[in-house]
Symmetry: C2
Subunit: 163 residues, 2 copies
């Protein structure tokens, strides 16, 4: 499954992946009514590099990578990942995360941090743990889940071993 | 010491406060060479409310308040504070933080979070603790301090009691 940088022609495919994630409002701290234009402006922002995962010519997942902080914090990367509904459960997120870890290492980042993993997103938490991330922070009630109400969000962190 | 919303005429005073903080690079994850324009664009961004603390007609401190996340995370506030060199040690930061807690509560926020408190900034850590913040996360080596090298950054959090 090739993973390549996103191009302009990927915008519709990226939006088709992001829209149900954003509308559900269960995993990302984004407004549930976020417009297509604003969602794409966020996902493809100038401060980040965005990739798509392709399977049989179809974009099945997308992720971005950026510096999590500026200045003295710019050696830590941050990513966001989303997998298309039809491609769930096939390891797309895992492959994107592995790709992002390699990319981040090559780009000179020394660690990767996820700032806001919704604690009820057990699949994501388990996946990140299996890929070496540790929960280094727990934000009490920091996410208002549309079904579960106020739930904790996790800060997850992983050092990037030197090559 | 009145604390009031910043106006356009405060820009020079705000920059005089921010410049030494940014150039030192010891407490904020901002580029040490950040320009005046970019620093003011950050501190006075459209996504935040910015205040100044005034003493004898002189701006001695400034802070901003914003939602820390969007969507399901928008009930948690985030702030950044800076005190002028000449006004250090006189309780300006404490008064600004108390003001921000009141303002956040009135604006409907349910908690306040600092995402990246540099662990070597003992004065700030102690002040936030004295104001009810708890360290809920520790980011290992997430800040490259110009003097101390890689040091931890803290995530600090405080619920806002109902009125």
């Amino acid at each position: 499954m090739p993973i390549r940088p996103a191009v302009d022609d990927d915008q519709e495919a990226i939006w088709e992946i992001l829209e149900p994630v954003i509308r559900a409002g269960e995993t990302y701290a984004l407004p549930r009514d976020l417009s297509r234009a604003d969602a794409l402006a966020y996902w493809l922002g100038a401060d980040r590099t965005t990739f798509v995962a392709v399977e049989d010519g179809v974009v099945v997942g997308t992720y971005f990578l950026r510096a999590n902080q500026l200045g003295g914090g710019s050696h830590v990367a941050n990513c966001g990942y989303a997998t298309g509904m039809a491609a769930q459960g096939r390891g797309v997120a895992r492959r994107m995360c592995l790709h992002s870890l390699d990319y981040a290492r090559e780009a000179g980042f020394r660690a990767m941090q996820f700032n806001f993993v919704v604690s009820t997103n057990h699949r994501a938490v388990g996946l990140w743990e299996s890929l070496g991330f540790e929960t280094v922070g727990r934000l009490p009630g920091a996410f208002l889940h549309p079904v579960h109400g106020a739930v904790d969000a996790l800060v997850m962190f992983r050092r990037l071993a030197d090559a």
